[in-house]
């Protein structure tokens, strides 16, 4: 039957142990035994989708004519900006993704205050020119300034942080272009200011030659050039070792305040927290009732192999859940349905094999031959049928991802993953466990042990 049974069992035990470790903890830590420092850390907290814990989903679409091409880079920049803005609101676990070539989907699970997020997303970013004296902050640093957009009180920084003075905002910019310096070696940014801005800028640069003028987008430093000379004509140049790409990216940020493409909200879904919790409980109850009935059926009908199948389904569930937690896949309600269906597919593989096994036993083969034949003969059906299921799941996933229909995505992902893992458990785990059980029990009465 199986020659290297011990090796197989060891492998299964190791996989199940690893999976259980991930299932039962919210963080995986491996500590370096010599230095006692964490060697490897990964958070494996389960992620519940909007439909299970409530929250907000918005679909944003580039607000430009449909026949106009948008390059993927600007969509990515826009995505980053939306991400930064909503991160600043202190919303945890939000996920912002580009969906297709002109849409961005944002998900905020567990969010109660949906209004503030929606307003923030639609704002155009705030570009500020800040006087930081002699200090040149690194790009990405968060600065606190004395400017507030609504004309009200500026946000108070944590104590100990310096508040810098904002000279003017991006509203004063008239035009921004990318050019090359006289030597033609480096790219530079040329800008022109509106008349009021030109005056403010002229006065400031005349008085502060040698100081740093930091450019801040949504309170985050994007560049900190030094003032080389007074700029009084309303036109100036920013140098700083730009490449062609970085100069263009920077120009885009200056030009549009922030968003490289204007965005509008085309779809909003809000799910209240009570509805989410209710769905979670009900689907869990439904799942366990269904699974219990199915397990009972398998054991009563297939006897010994039935018990093995139920065991391998449990192993399958343990592994699938671990894969979900490890890769931070979001669990959604259709995802639960997809999981149950793929459990069906996993059982189907077992049933195909067991039916074959019984047939072979009835036709008078001995046990070892019957087990071998059961697997080899059922394999082509299992392979072809599961591949067909995976093909459809992939098409569904593609459909879901172009429209930010994360519900569809979640379903197809669980289905595909479940089918793939179920192939492993049906072919490898069930067979190994069955061989082990047969070795231990040495059944003689096929009628009783196999229910033929």
């Amino acid at each position: 039957m199986i020659r290297n049974l011990t090796n197989r069992i060891i492998l299964i035990v190791v996989i199940v142990a690893l999976a259980l470790w991930i299932d039962l903890s919210s963080e995986v830590n491996i500590i370096n035994p010599i230095s006692n420092e964490p060697f490897f850390t990964r958070s494996v907290a389960p992620r519940l989708g909007l439909d299970l814990q409530g929250g907000l989903q918005v679909l944003l679409e580039a607000d430009i004519p449909a026949d106009q091409q948008i390059d993927s880079q600007s969509m990515e920049v826009a995505r980053e900006i939306v991400q930064q803005r909503t991160d600043a609101l202190g919303v945890s676990e939000n996920a912002i993704q580009v969906a297709g070539d002109r849409r961005i989907v944002g998900e905020f699970p567990g969010l109660a205050d949906t209004d503030s997020v929606l307003t923030t997303i639609q704002q155009t970013g705030l570009l500020e020119f800040v006087d930081t004296g002699d200090f040149a902050p690194e790009p990405g640093t968060i600065l606190y300034t004395d400017y507030s957009p609504a004309g009200g009180q500026a946000e108070l920084p944590p104590s100990g942080e310096v508040i810098y003075h904002t000279i003017m905002t991006g509203a004063e910019l008239d035009a921004v272009t990318v050019g090359q310096d006289q030597l033609g070696a480096n790219y530079v940014i040329n800008f022109r200011l509106k008349s009021e801005g030109a005056q403010i800028f002229g006065a400031h640069t005349s008085a502060n030659v040698g100081n740093v003028l930091t450019i801040v987008l949504d309170k985050q430093v994007i560049s900190a050039p030094r003032i080389n000379s007074a700029i009084t004509g309303g036109e100036g140049t920013i140098t700083g070792g730009f490449t062609y790409d970085s100069a263009n990216a920077f120009a885009v940020q200056l030009r549009y305040g922030s968003l490289p493409v204007p965005l509008k909200i085309v779809e909003t879904r809000i799910i209240g927290p009570t509805l989410g919790a209710d769905s979670l409980n009900k689907s869990l109850i439904a799942g366990s009732i269904g699974m219990t009935i199915v397990a009972l059926f398998m054991i009563i009908y297939y006897r010994l192999p039935g018990i093995v199948a139920v065991l391998s389904i449990l192993i399958y569930a343990v592994i699938t859940f671990a894969v979900f937690k490890w890769f931070h896949f979001t669990l959604t309600l259709p995802g639960v349905a997809g999981f149950l269906l793929s459990t069906g597919a996993a059982l189907d593989a077992n049933i195909l094999i067991f039916e074959r096994l019984k047939e072979e036993l009835r036709s008078g083969k001995n046990l070892a031959q019957a087990v071998d034949q059961g697997w080899t003969r059922a394999w082509s059906s299992i392979r072809d049928s599961n591949l067909a299921a995976i093909i459809t799941s992939l098409i569904l996933f593609w459909f879901g991802s172009t429209f930010g229909a994360t519900i569809v995505q979640g379903f197809s992902l669980t289905l595909a993953l479940g089918v793939a893992i179920s192939l492993f458990t049906a072919i490898y785990v069930t067979r190994t466990l069955l061989s082990l059980f047969l070795k231990i029990f040495k059944p003689q009465n096929f009628d009783r042990w196999f229910g033929i």
């Binding site: 209004d115 929606l118 689907s283 269906l341 049933i351 059906s381 072809d384 098409i395 569904l396």
Partner: protein, 305 residues
Amino acid sequence: MIDILSKRYYYFLFSLLVIVPGLIFLAVDGLPLSIDFTGGSLFEIAFEEGKTIGTEGINAIYESVGIDDAQVTTTNNGSVLIRSSFLTEEARNQVVTAMEVESGGSVTVISFDSVGPTIGAQVASRAALAVGVAALGVVIYITLAFRKVENAFRYGVCAIIAMAHDVAVVFSVAGVGARFFEWQMDALFLTALLTVIGFSVQDKVVVFDRIRENANLLRRLEYETLVNHSIVQTLQRSINTQLMTVEFLLLALALFGGVTLQEFAVILLVGLLSGTYSSIFVAAPILVLWEKREWTTWFRRRPNP
């Protein structure tokens, strides 16, 4: 051995009886497309105990923000469901504020779905494409997987006919559901439909695979007997997999899984059942019918079966 195939025309009749009524409902009532495909808003709210506003009040509030097609229904658990055309974020805020003023209590948002009109149309066309691509992918796959069998192409075509049968059954169920339970075709319906397609093919492959295997072993048998043989051999598996496991799981989901998944679970339940049924009672009989070229005798006097 049970003779399944000889009664094939009764099975076709039975399928028609299942499919036609629902399709008539769909033809009469139109496709019950949800806002996922048509665009629009679905707003579910709950008023504070004893501080509710009537349907006219809600309609008036909606009209004040320029929307005059609001339809208000009350759900079983006392919340209010309002369907309307696309509601922007500002309009929604205005509506909630106006409702709070009018009712004198707070208004809880249970759920809010709002889909812009252009996006809905795009989803609908892309969905049709997804179904088409899935069907095509499957025919190619089956033709390839059965390339060593005589007339491999027939198996692919029969799988597609049976798949079309299952899609028709799913639509029929949706039509009946729309007429009697106010069901709608939404993104989840589409998901269910595509799943039915996937599993339907899976089922056909299992039966066809048995035919493929038997064709090598039992060369002398007549084709009809061979196919009948193969069906009977896989019958136990079909019953156990579909009825006893998958259908039980879905039934549990339909009964206890809460409103969100109920419709989805029922459609999957019927669709997957149809998938199993059609492998045995549609796809296999058509294979035989094709082999015997039975259409040549359809309009003559039927020979005794």
